[in-house]
């Protein structure tokens, strides 16, 4: 019975102590998580901002009060802004920023919440975009000529225009600012379409003309080559025939040289044979061979 009483007493002490410690801990401890910060106010007056993660302390309510802030990065996309570039072209531009709170106190005092921050950033972005793009041609953003493009420079200018103000006035750091969209006003689209259409027609005509030109070049080159080949063939044939004729002539000449008189005689007889056919009418003298045989022993001749 006495043991039970002792145990009960100890239990009460332990439970009471734990409860008191827990209450004291929750009243004074500040667990600041990574990516967040705590602003401590004493009787409503900002005391300090605990931005490093870890365990921090404060006096219990109602003396000190803590408010948490999200210190992570945020993306804010600005509105579409219509503006004139330096070369007087109407464009619609949209930018986005990556921002985060760096000065919790200034942010709380000057801005308040994230939503309010977006409103403030929007004005800043619009002004910076108008000022920066007004100093560049459209070809600084869209161009096939790499020397015209100045997107890096434009983004650097936008950052230089906005970051210091945001830092000082709102306690916000703008880490990145980029062009997210570049478009044309609705009224200008028709003109751009016409221009594109004309360009397409021009390309189509160019392709067709090139195709025809190239095809006829290939054809005529081939025809020329073929003609040259055939001409060479004909030349070769003519040379062969010529050489052959010379050879044949030489062969006959050799024969003729053996006995010119007899050769002439034989050739004449051959000619006679070739010339006389079934359409030939021969008119012979009765005193010529062989008819003369009937009269007398004639002389052999022609």
């Amino acid at each position: 019975m006495a043991d039970e009483m002792t145990a009960q007493r100890w239990l009460r002490v332990v439970v009471g102590t734990i409860a008191l410690l827990a209450i004291a801990f929750y009243a004074t401890a500040l667990v600041v998580h990574e990516g967040s910060a705590v602003l401590v106010t004493r009787f409503g007056r900002p005391l300090r901002a605990d931005t490093s993660a870890g365990l921090h302390w404060k006096l219990p309510w109602p003396i000190d009060r803590a408010s948490w802030l999200d210190m992570r990065r945020h993306v804010y996309e600005g509105g579409h802004t219509e503006m004139l570039t330096r070369d007087k072209k109407n464009v619609i531009v949209r930018t986005f920023v990556v921002w985060r709170i760096v000065d919790a106190l200034t942010f709380t005092q000057a801005v308040g919440s994230e939503r309010d921050a977006e409103g403030k950033l929007d004005g800043l972005l619009t002004n910076a975009a108008i000022a920066t793009l007004g100093g560049h041609d459209l070809s600084a953003i869209v161009s096939t000529n790499a020397n015209d493009l100045q997107v890096d420079q434009i983004e650097a200018e936008l950052l230089a225009d906005t970051a210091p103000v945001a830092r000082q006035s709102y306690g916000v750091e703008i880490e990145q600012i980029r062009l997210e969209r570049i478009a044309l006003p609705e009224e200008n689209v028709t003109a751009v379409f016409e221009q594109m259409r004309a360009e397409r027609r021009q390309y189509a005509a160019k392709f067709r003309a090139e195709g025809e030109r190239e095809a006829s070049r290939i054809r005529s080159e081939a025809e020329l080559e073929a003609a040259q080949i055939r001409a060479k063939g004909a030349e070769e044939a003519a040379r062969i025939r010529g050489e052959s004729a010379a050879q044949v002539a030489k062969t006959y000449a050799d024969a003729q040289r053996a006995d010119p008189e007899f050769y002439k005689f034989v050739r004449s007889l051959e000619s006679l044979d070739k010339l006389v056919n079934d359409k030939t009418t021969l008119i012979l003298r009765t005193d010529a061979e062989p008819f003369s045989m009937l009269q007398s022993q004639g002389e052999v001749g022609r």
């Binding site: 998580h33 870890g54 365990l55 990065r73 044309l184 081939a222 004909a234 044979d273 005193d287």
Partner: protein, 359 residues
Amino acid sequence: MRRSGVPSELGRLAAPLARGLDAAWRRMHWWVAVMALLYAVSGITVIGPDEVGVVQRWGRLVGDSPATREHGPGLLFAFPRPVDQVTRVKTKYIRELAIKLAPPEDTTDGGTRLDPLTVGYALSGDQNIVHVKLVARFRVREPAEWVFYGPRSEDIVRTEVSAAIIRSLGEMGVDHVLAEGRKDLIQTVTQRSQAGLDAAHSGLELVALELTGLTPPRALVNDFDAVQSAYIGAETQKKDAEAFAQGIVPKAHASANAEAQAARADAATAQARAEGDVDAFLALEREYRANPAVVRERLYRDAAEKAIASAAMVRWVPPPAPGRGYQGLRVFVEPEATLSPASETTPPPPPQRLPEEGP
């Protein structure tokens, strides 16, 4: 009841509470013990096979480098809250986000006016309007950065990829990008997006960008198609011409060869004939040299007979009268049909009978 060290008034006030505690303890002390034990081990966390765990102690991230911060799959021993807090991040899981710089799917009009607020598009380097649709696949690469410092994943991926598209398309010609430049585009957009994601401390890695649509405005599709078909037509014409060339040249070679070959054959034939003739002549000549008169006579007669036999008609005329020649002589050659075979060999009528009767 003992009241050691406690003012009796306070003790009297706390008495009901103490009685309640005593009663609760007597009834539920096992439950309390179990609950206390469960609380003590509640910090032990199971990290799944596709996860990484990061630990915060009193809110502060434990570990200095990614290697010491990140805990892989398995049991992770940590103190219970509020001391430690374990965050599990699926680092292998690949998320998808569709990014559209294109008209909404439900518009069906020809799209001759594009409202920049509702219809997305990008401008190419030669200031053409192009619609782009793509799907970004990304995962968490640095869990601590992603959880504690980075912006919302969807926001940053959409904006960085859009900015990269605007910029990359803005330096390419429309024809290049619609044809062989797609790969270039994807590559530069991926590079730029990743650089942006890194600069924003997003802790994200772009695994892949898949281009699901890259088209000219609907109103101009026909014009773009016309260029395409003109291009194909031109290529076809060239191919046809090349085929023609490939046909005609070998044919010319063949005909040139054939001609030369024919000439060679003719030459061979002519030569052979000439040699045959010459051989025959030389043989005859040898005979002639041995017997000139006989050979000559025989040859002459053979030729004369053959000529007379093969001639269609033979007419005989007397030798001219001395001193007169053939003045006034006429020979009639009558049509073959009217001639009898006998008349062919009939000597011609005497010339003096004929002068008056002309044909």
